[in-house]
Amino acid sequence: MKKLLLSLVTVLLVAVACGEDEGASVVGGDPAGTTVTLMTHDSFAISGSVWEAFTAETGVTVELLQVGDAGTMVSEAILTKDAPIADVVFGVDNTFLQRGLDADIFAPYESRNLDVVFDHLKLDDNNRVTPISFGDVCINYWIDALPGTVAPATLEDLTDARYASQLVVQSPETSSPGLAFLLATISGTDDWEQYWADLVANDVSITAGWEDAYYGEFIAGGGDRSIVVSYASSPPAEVIFADPPIDTAPTGVLLDSCFRQIEFAGILAGTDNPAGAAALIDFMLTNTFQEDVPLNMFVFPASQSAGLPPEFVEHTTVPVEPHIMDPAEIEANRDRWVDRWVEIVLG
């Protein structure tokens, strides 16, 4: 069917095709002079000077392609496996990682800079993906609006009547922080199903996405709830983008509730520029790239040797023992867990 349609439309092509040739590709050897395409999600941001440094160092030009959210990106990387649109993909997190691994979309590559990466971030022994950054999804609270201005200290506290009608959470069906928080409760409570039943009894509110939770029901956007699922890096963003400027964050983080999200980069198996792709992965672990990450994407660099911007460190609390889960376990249970969650919470 595809071929038939193709021949039909060939007529049109003469008119519309703008014949730009792709950059010449090199297999192995020195990638200088080639272009490497990096596919990533819409939340990706990095300073232009960083790419200039990469090109100056390696002679390789980077072309970025951004698409939707992390889930959309992984789906599309799998769909285009046989004809990849990029050489490297960045932004696959540990909740989606196994899906990409199962679909065999990555080519293994052990970066020569891998030593700088925190050990606990390395989730794939075969180096099919390389950790680049990490962040934590955590319960945030608006300090001044808490009932009795007492902050919750544990996940269990959120089921306390003191915090009735205070918590707003995103649905794990449609939201990535929502899924991360569900995983945190599965990892961090003895009986997560009972825990959610207790949250429901305590009048937890559910939204579809982060925006309508944080800016809709949470006090930050004019709502009346004082506790929300957001990120460990949300308090520094509240300070850096405050209007008028403020010195201390209005929000705090419940460290017991944090789920670690690790973002990986991987070389797509179908690449025709493996040398350029490898150079890019190596570069993403250098300090030039790593130190630019925090203030652009509000996540931490995966490299132990990268310095952190002072305004980022000052207002950020890093959980010592965040909840973390094996990607294979997530993938094997996710749909079942989410279905069960829907029954308990929305049913």
């Binding site: 595809k2 349609l5 060939t10 392609l65 951004q66 992984v74 996405g209 809709g216 983008f241 652009n296």
Partner: protein, 537 residues
């Protein structure tokens, strides 16, 4: 002879819509469904019927779209009639103003509605609107009001008011005259507008999830859930097939309604007979409140700074914040650029297609009518994924070209041009064509001069829609790979809203307000360009 040559060119032109829809819609969607259903074929579709949840979803999708359509028509019809009776310039002004809600991303509108619900105590309690089906319906009226006012208002303006006046002279009340004389003549336009509103509500995503709350599910949200959250392409494709079949059935019914009882038009004085003056203004007042309140919330927020009111959020649009790959002004410029391209494409293809739909052989006529309307009722996921996996190899390796984004926007714009133009062309009094023929005009000249002259109004109103659709498009755009420098305004807006901080949120609101201004000014300019064409009639 020149006329003969023209016919040849005309036939070749017919290929244009066929190729466009074939290459950028049927081929991609066919490919993704084929791949998705895989070995299971249609069994996957029939399996859906066995699941009570999916039956509920299908029923709710239809139900909410039907009620949204009925409500929108009921609320907007009096305004459409009022607009039809206005002077030319005033009509254009109102038509461009009502287009504003159309460009606003749902996440922004939902935020404004939520704030109104909170402010009025409608967020909880017995009269709660937040996270109810009512919130979805109100939002659908908000977004689609413009469709009815513009499509029906345009048809109203073309009606001959003398028959209704004659009825009044013969003793009919104003209401009787309107019901017996004017309404039947508007039926094709109302059917046309209803079809668009229904399809928009049928595939609505953000309004359902954000305002309706996480419990609500429609075919569109389910397709997203299976394709993206679960990577279950088989189930997603099965749902997409159900969506396509439903849309085909709907479009078939609506085109039948549109064709039934063709009413005719002479270009003459507009009708001014609907309703008493106070009643009409009451309706317009209510509509202004419905459309205006959420917009007022956005405007207030865009000027609200930490220290009172000011322009600082607007000034910030020119400087890149770290979350964006380029300043918001670049995104606005890109969006204007894409919208202009999408509009030219949509008008070009829509005009040719409309002429075929009205004058073509019955086979090609029906195919065009159905095929060109389909994209409006097709999930953004299906179109985005389809383009990604179908247009992936030479000679059609188009999926990462920048122009694929305006092309995807034009796919949704074309049905607007067709659905606005076709009722106008159908309503041309045959005696006008006959008169021209008697006076010696060749058939192609009749078509060119009379049809295009009268249809031009529809083409431009449809073009205004295409522009607005493109300016606000976030669905297919978010599924297509883009270079950072090709950032569009809705994508930038969404990015600004996804990191905490008052400065980012303020800038997002300012961006939304600039989009509102852009769309109303652009639509006004687009529709003014017909001034000379109509003046000669």
């Amino acid at each position: 002879m020149r006329t003969r040559e023209r016919i040849g060119v005309g036939d070749a032109l017919m290929l244009l819509p066929a190729l466009f829809i074939g290459l950028f819609f049927l081929f991609p969607v066919g490919t993704v469904l084929w791949r998705g259903l895989g070995g299971e074929g249609l069994d996957a579709v029939f399996d859906l019927a066995k699941s009570p949840r999916q039956r509920d979803v299908l029923w709710f999708t239809f139900w909410q779209a039907a009620v949204s359509t009925a409500l929108t028509v009921a609320v907007a019809l009096p305004a459409a009639a009022t607009v039809g009776g206005l002077s030319d310039r005033a009509r254009r002004f109102v038509r461009s103003l009502v287009t504003v809600p159309f460009v606003l991303p749902t996440v922004v509108v939902a935020g404004a509605f939520d704030e109104l619900f909170f402010a009025t105590g409608l967020d909880t309690g017995d009269f709660r609107l937040r996270h109810t089906v009512w919130a979805i319906l109100i939002a659908h009226v908000f977004f689609n009001y413009a469709v009815v006012v513009r499509v029906v208002g345009t048809a109203c303006a073309g009606l001959d008011g003398r028959q209704a006046e004659a009825a009044r002279v013969l003793g009919a009340t104003r209401w009787q005259a309107w019901r017996a004389v004017t309404l039947p003549r508007l039926r094709p336009a109302i059917a046309s507008a209803s079809a668009i509103v229904f399809l928009f509500s049928f595939t609505s995503f953000g309004a359902v999830l954000i305002l309706g709350g996480p419990k609500r599910a429609t075919l569109e949200t389910e397709i997203y859930r299976y394709a993206v959250s679960r990577t279950d392409l088989t189930r997603a494709a099965a749902l997409a097939v159900v969506q396509l079949v439903a849309v085909l059935a709907l479009v078939a019914v609506s085109t039948w309604l549109e064709r039934r009882r063709p009413a005719t038009t002479r270009m003459a004085r507009p009708t001014r007979t609907l309703g008493s003056r106070p009643g009409r203004w009451l309706n317009v007042g209510m509509a202004t409140a419905l459309l205006g309140a959420p917009l007022a919330v956005l405007i207030e927020r865009s000027f609200s700074t930490g220290t009172g009111y000011g322009l600082s959020h607007y000034q910030a649009l020119g400087t890149r914040v770290r979350q964006l790959p380029a300043p918001a002004t670049t995104a606005l410029w890109n969006s204007l650029h894409y919208a202009a391209l999408a509009t030219v494409l949509a008008v070009l293809i829509g005009v040719v297609a409309s002429v075929v739909v009205v004058h073509g052989r019955s086979g090609s006529r029906r195919l065009f009518d159905l095929g060109l309307t389909l994209p409006l009722g097709t999930s953004a996921v299906t179109i985005g994924f389809g383009i990604l996996i179908a247009l992936d190899e030479p000679p059609v390796d188009f999926r990462t070209r920048w122009w694929i984004i305006p092309v995807a926007h034009a796919l949704v714009g074309v049905p607007f041009v067709v659905r606005t133009m076709v009722p106008l062309l159908r309503s041309i009094d045959p005696s006008i064509r006959e008169a021209a023929a008697v006076l010696g005009a060749s058939p192609s000249r009749v078509r060119r001069e009379i049809d295009l002259m009268i249809g031009a109004r529809g083409a431009l109103v449809g073009g205004g829609f295409a522009f607005a659709v493109s300016l606000g498009e976030f669905g297919a755009t978010s599924f297509l790979p883009r270079r950072p420098e090709d950032l569009t305004a809705p994508v930038a807006l969404f990015r600004l809203l996804s990191t905490p901080g008052d400065l980012l949120r303020g800038q997002a609101m300012a961006l939304a307000v600039v989009l509102m201004v852009f769309v109303s000014v652009s639509v006004f300019v687009i529709e003014s360009s017909r001034g000379t064409a109509e003046g000669s009639l």
